[in-house]
Symmetry: C2
Subunit: 234 residues, 2 copies
Amino acid sequence: MNPNSIGKDYLDHISIDCVIFGFHNKSLRVLLLKWKTINRWALPGGFIKKNEHADAAAQRVLSERTELSNIFLRQFHTFSDPDRNKADGNLDISLLPVRFSKEAIDWIKGRFVTIGYFALVDFNKVKPVPDLFSEECRWWELEQLPVLLYDHHHIVDAALIALRDALQYQPMGKYVMPKKFTLPELQKLYEVILGKKIDRRNFRKKILGLNIIHPLGETRKGGAHRSPDLYSFN
Amino acid sequence: MNPNSIGKDYLDHISIDCVIFGFHNKSLRVLLLKWKTINRWALPGGFIKKNEHADAAAQRVLSERTELSNIFLRQFHTFSDPDRNKADGNLDISLLPVRFSKEAIDWIKGRFVTIGYFALVDFNKVKPVPDLFSEECRWWELEQLPVLLYDHHHIVDAALIALRDALQYQPMGKYVMPKKFTLPELQKLYEVILGKKIDRRNFRKKILGLNIIHPLGETRKGGAHRSPDLYSFN
DNA sequence: TGCCTAATGTGTAATATTTACGCAATAATA
DNA sequence: TATTATTGCGTAAATATTACACATTAGGCA
């Protein structure tokens, strides 16, 4: 994003925000940005070009932050509380990057209706990249998020609920699991998303019955006990 | 809405559109507006005031069109195709109401990202009221919609899918059925929303098991055969 | 080397939910 | 009063979900 394009090339008062989910070490994570100067963590987001689809804008933000393309992306809700950017009362966005013009700063400080998306990515393939507003981009465990900018924590909560609902219909493990994985690993993913324990044996039966994964004939070595079989999505 | 407030009191490039569902004579219906001059039917919609929540804007539009308050309302998707208002290539919005200023007409002709809501109302309680752009407001059977403005037909389709999904989780008959109704009537509602036939006896078992309705001890007279019992939602 | 431990793979039984369908009761019509 | 079509009520079959027993395996350790 070009600092000079702020407030000119984009639609006014509309933004998109992405809750990017990854899975690593048995825990669900989201990719966050640390905003400059104000030192607050926030969701990756951006604006919509005057002739751009919001989905395209989200996909653009996603590729910029992760260096991935063709990411699983789904719009889940639009947040329009007129005071949603005032949740942080003591926060002055104008302290942000100095290279913005006064007009651009006024533009950014205005009200934004934001379209929320959630994305699913392979944790191992992501190369986190900060944007113009941020100095750092990294994964956070969903269970241990820092204080977030504005209403972003609320957006994350809503995204998780949307993901949970979606998982009932559509098996989306494909987008978050690495190429090779074990059934216990996949089960853990389901457990953290659904927020409940699942019986090993029933889970196996269910997933294998869906015919969406196949065994590779290999096992994951190195564990303390019996080596679990490795699978891949079809 | 005051014609002079167009393009001034509202957020630019953002609108809301409502798919208002009603149920009458065994069929699902939506409330549509016939736009002046261009004579095309469209969804009731409106703009968001500069300090207004989109939900409030939708509720406002809803009460204006139906003369009802406290309507069941749910946001389901935001439509952002930059060309969505160009689907009607030969349509010139500027032919619309003469009392708008040139600025207002330019504003309206611009791109709009629209937040889609669906609403459930009691058909019998609605008094359809046209808005500033329209000369008529009336119900249309979902199965026999006319050609709609822009991408509104697509919005209706998406709303129906959202309603269908929601009905699985939450019994929403309460909002569309009249105070007194029979089980076969309620069943028909489910059938038209879900798009499939349901077994009478299983439907009865399921609904009664939910403990959301109670018999009134009366029956609906006048039918050609056995009079069905009347129920109300709790 | 061989036992212990804990996790995985496989199977089966119990339970709950969904689906299918038979039959009696009833109200208008002829 | 018989006919007909629809409603109310009940039961059985099929399917899906849940619970749980037991054998297999790999590393740890004596």
